[in-house]
Amino acid sequence: MTTLALGLDRTAVELRMYSREKESVFFSFLFPILLLALFSTVFGAQFEDGGSQMSASRFFLPGMIAAGVLLTSFQTMALSVATERDDGSLKRLRATPMPPVAYFLGKVGLVAVTSLAQLVLLLAVARLVYDVPMPTGADRWAVFAGVFALGVLSGTVLGVAYSSLATSRAIGAVVIGPILVLQFISGVYIGWDSIPGWLQQVAALFPLKWIAQGMRSVFYPEGMVGLEMAGSWETGRTLLVLAAWSVVGLVLCVTTFRWTKRGSV
């Protein structure tokens, strides 16, 4: 079989395992959708932030999309690769003639399918249940697609690289802790303008802030731009930062990836 066909088969295997793991379905796939529903119910139709009024659903949707990207790409990759390295799955695959690229294609396929499905579900719920207006104009949709694709790509490669930091026994805490903090300071759960300037600076070092900002730029009314750090949506810089993180992640993957646990050469 060709490498591509093996990669597609790996994708099918990955999806099968993902969908059978209730924890991953709940905590990474459905989580942003459940949170959107929760915030919409709690804060209602008239949500005020920084003097601008909109429904809570519209206010939180960009953040939930960003959180979803982070969970289905970074968190899924970091957790699954670390676990597979620790339990010997990677070594077992390495012992077969399967080309390593097929394994990574399977992971990429898993992330692509789950993040797209999650996005469609999130948009459908926002539009149909909470009446959130969708972006208008091809240029907004293009920005949306670019931010989403680069967000997923950077999350995937950084997740694989991050998996090398801990054994699977500790990886849960090592992944979920920082992700939670990052979500709070990146404008996912708390309005971006409510975060102190120095924390905004910290958040700006990581991709999540830029994904959330890129999503706000297409879903928020133009008047909200004044609440941004730079007073503009910084679309070009957003795409550039995410692309840079993708390259950094890819280099880290290639240089640090291990098929076996630490201690074996």
Partner: protein, 293 residues
């Protein structure tokens, strides 16, 4: 080519510890070869070098005519590896796992045939998480043989098996060997080596101490036998190089059946333990502990 595996002057050092120290070994094509040795003897290191998982510091290694350190994908196609227990298959069924694994080989065995060979047909469509330890281990073996390998590495395959499961497993290994598969078996169970292996090699401290058939290892065939019987309400024993003469004399003296007669030679385990004894009690504590995997 008559050797499946050829090792000359193999050396591997961890820090100052010589895990493998100038090892020479040949495994012939088509034989079942068992590598025995205490923990830390260098078994796992040697096998992992042969499997292409570890680098070596010195020596020549050829596995199916190829250096495993820079072996191409086509080489992996001819090798089957059953690692010590691995996880990560809980959410899939044996059939799903095997069907996917089979796809990367050029001439895989039929998945149903592999399930049948490993006795997993009845469990083929159950989640792996529900399999018993022995069934789980047979799935590892199934993964090792699904590519129809010319050479199969088995690393402690029956650890944790009950006696019946072990007997069933031995039958599977013998049938694979009968079909011409070369098998390199590492095990802690000497009865397993005795049942399965054409030849055994004993290594300790990274060196080969003995190499022979299980029956002849360490001069067992020519060793003194122990003749033992009941007489006058107590157990009498005599060690002798001519047990047949001894038994004939006893038979004549008792004029028929000799009560409680046994004739034994050193077991493989006795021979093995006496071979490795100087290396296990040595002051070097590293020799008695497993090298970190």
């Amino acid at each position: 080519m008559t050797e499946a595996i050829r090792i000359r002057g193999l050396r591997k050092t961890y820090g100052t510890h010589r895990a493998v120290d100038d090892l020479d070994l040949d495994v012939r094509a088509g034989e079942v070869f068992s590598l025995l040795g205490p923990n830390g003897a260098g078994k796992t290191t040697t096998v992992e070098i042969l499997e292409g998982f570890r680098s070596r510091d010195a020596g020549d290694v050829s596995v199916l005519g190829t250096d495993p350190h820079r072996a191409p994908r086509a080489w992996r196609d001819r090798i089957g590896i059953v690692l010590q227990s691995t996880g990560g298959l809980d959410l899939l069924t044996p059939r799903e796992v095997l069907r996917s694994a089979a796809k990367s080989y050029r001439r895989p065995r039929d998945v149903d045939e592999v399930l049948d060979l490993t006795g997993l047909t009845a469990k083929a469509d159950d989640r792996t998480v529900g399999l018993s330890g022995g069934q789980r281990r047979r799935l590892d073996v199934a993964l090792g043989i699904v590519g129809r390998p010319d050479l199969l590495f088995l690393d402690e395959p029956t650890t944790g098996f009950d006696p019946q499961a072990r007997r069933d497993f031995w039958g599977l290994i013998r049938s694979l060997a009968h079909d011409g598969t070369t098998i390199l078996l590492t095990t802690h169970y000497l009865d397993e080596a005795e049942h399965l292996a054409d030849r055994v090699g004993v290594i300790a401290a990274g060196r080969l101490l003995a190499l022979d058939t299980p029956a002849a290892l360490g001069g067992r065939q020519g060793a003194e036998a122990t003749v033992s019987w009941e007489e006058g309400g107590e157990r009498r024993t005599r060690r002798t190089t001519t047990p047949t003469t001894e038994v004939s004399a006893l038979a004549a003296r008792f004029a028929g059946e000799v009560p409680g007669l046994t004739v034994t030679r050193p077991s493989l385990e006795d021979t093995y333990l006496s071979l490795i004894a100087p290396h296990v009690d040595a002051a070097d504590p590293v020799a008695a502990t497993e090298v970190p995997a």
